[in-house]
């Protein structure tokens, strides 16, 4: 009977309490000092571009740590962390709370916009353009002009088939990714697969593998694979501006590797590192670049992909409803 009681007691103990949570230690302190230390350490051990950008993160600690006070308001503390992260000069670095999202957008705000959506919409796509999923296209002077606003918008194989059908027997294709802020690299690969008959190496990538500043995995090859359906093997021009970022930057890198493609406009904005996410003890989310990407020649793409022909929007043209960059691309086809 005694055994029975002991066993019953054990049984009851298990049943009576939701003991699952009891064996997990409590959450760390959520005060400003603990949160600052946590974020600084995370960036210190996982950010990918300290060496490339010549950033002394220890000195950043020495500047900002003395400014942290336990009696700071949430807003004050957020702004302090945002200022610290701004030092990284990286569009893939954000701190997100319920009331704000920190960012550094100097990589495109410090440069000419080189894009006017109204002009593209009214004067180039006009009324009768085709909409194949996220790809808006129009035939202009026997050239297929394709506008893709965001790599976050998924491209289906049927969309690509429609695009390839539209491009057949034309002089060439212009793909416009100006002010395309990125999205999914899968869409970049899908679109690029339409323009190569062979598997093509377009770069290398590596990821942080430990806390050391130069502790990375070995480089992995980045390749474009030709799609099995219809493709276009003719001349190709990619239009970029400084606001072509992240997955758009990766797409520009792919196009740069194609022998029959040219990049026109301004260089892309960069964002060669894939951001890793995390959260602070106080629940705020952050992200920062945790990988590096380079071209086949070994150049980092964090600062953008240079164009083959630099063209800026002419204010006189823009006032007259003309997109100088599209016109330059069309002229290249006329000359070829």
């Amino acid at each position: 009977m005694k055994k029975l009681q002991i066993l019953a007691g054990l049984f009851v103990l298990l049943l009576a309490f939701s003991c699952e949570s009891l064996l997990i230690p409590g959450d760390p302190a959520g005060d400003p000092v603990a949160n600052f230390e946590f974020l600084w350490r995370e960036v210190d051990s996982k950010y990918a571009y300290f060496e490339f950008k010549s950033i002394d993160w220890d000195s950043v600690y020495n500047v900002y740590r003395p400014q942290v006070r336990s009696d700071m308001s949430e807003q004050e503390f957020f702004d302090l962390l945002a200022d610290m992260l701004y030092v990284l000069r990286d569009g893939h670095v954000n701190l997100t709370s319920a009331f704000d999202r920190s960012r550094n957008w100097s990589w495109y705000l410090d440069y000419p916009e080189n894009f006017n959506g109204n002009i593209v919409s009214r004067n180039y796509l006009a009324e009768d353009y085709r909409i194949s999923g996220p790809l808006h296209h129009q035939v202009i002077d026997s050239v297929l002009y394709v506008y893709y606003a965001s790599f976050a918008n998924e491209i289906s194989q049927a969309n690509l088939d429609a695009l390839m059908d539209a491009a057949q027997d034309l002089k060439g294709v212009i793909i416009d990714i100006r002010s395309n802020g990125g999205g999914s690299s899968a869409n970049a690969h899908a679109l690029a697969s339409c323009f190569t008959p062979d598997t093509l190496l377009y770069g290398w990538q590596r990821i942080k593998s430990g806390p050391g500043k130069e502790e990375f995995s070995p480089w992995s090859a980045l390749r474009i694979y030709p799609r099995s359906g219809k493709r276009f093997d003719g001349q190709l021009i990619l239009l970029c501006n400084r606001n072509s970022y992240s997955a758009a930057n990766l797409f520009a890198q792919m196009m740069k590797a194609l022998p029959h493609a040219r990049l026109v406009g301004d260089q892309s904005g960069g964002g060669g590192g894939i951001p890793a996410f995390g959260e602070l003890p106080n629940g705020w989310l952050y992200r920062f670049s945790a990988t590096q990407t380079i071209t086949p020649e070994g150049e980092h793409t964090e600062g953008g992909i240079p164009v083959d022909m630099r063209v800026d929007m002419d204010p006189m043209d823009e006032a007259a409803g003309i997109d100088s960059i599209i016109e330059a691309a069309l002229q290249l086809f006329r000359n070829s």
Binding site: L7, I24, P25, G26, S217, G278, E279
Partner: protein, 263 residues
Amino acid sequence: MFWAQKRLSAVFLLLLLSGNAVLFAERGHFLIAQAGLDHAAQRDKSMSPLAYGGSGIATGIAYEHGGRSSMDFFHLSFQSGEIRNRYGNSCSYQSVAFRNYTFYPKQGESGNATVFGWSNINAFHRYVNAAYGNYADRLNYYTLFGPAFRYALPFRIGKLQFHMQLPVDLQILGFYLRPSYISNRPSGYLDPENSAFMAWLRSVDLFIPGRDWHFSLNPQLNLMLGSGGRLSLTYQYQFVRIAKPELFVQSKGTWYISLVTKL
């Protein structure tokens, strides 16, 4: 949930304290179908410093064989649910586990005794953080071995015959695969030069008792049916602590209702 558990425990307590031991033999082959609820709490420092907890559903299928010299139990289970931190950020999770126990009763003894044996657990556990745009998923895998014992107690209340048992195991030997420093891919798979085997070999870590922990206890109450089968209520609890590359701790309990059919 808490009050339901309390009521349930009171019923068990009454049942157990008023019961009389009867002989119970577990010979034969049994097939077990299970359905239930899962409750998990965990902290994976590679994903967040915060603890996540929540609930899900669970299903399982098992085969049990009671012989003269050994009792074997093979269990395949699946759990799926959602866990949240205290600020509301959520992860979906799925777990698949295959575990087996072998107990060795002393000659001539039947099920109403403490028996010793060994256990093996193989588990996949995957969770995806809803707020993370990249590297949002984490996958853990482990294969572990360790000693186990089971205390079994048959008893009767009126004309109803019950059997209670408490299998307990402590894992002491094995290996595990964890995500690498940033990516979900284990470290060996980050090097494109590695063959599939070398990648696996360079990704596994040894389970070191003391640094790493895994134990489980599975109290179970069976109502014996006239057909030779049983209707069971099981609470399967397990605690896991894996130290590398960053600390992962999980405490998980699953309630199962099981129908045991004698084959």
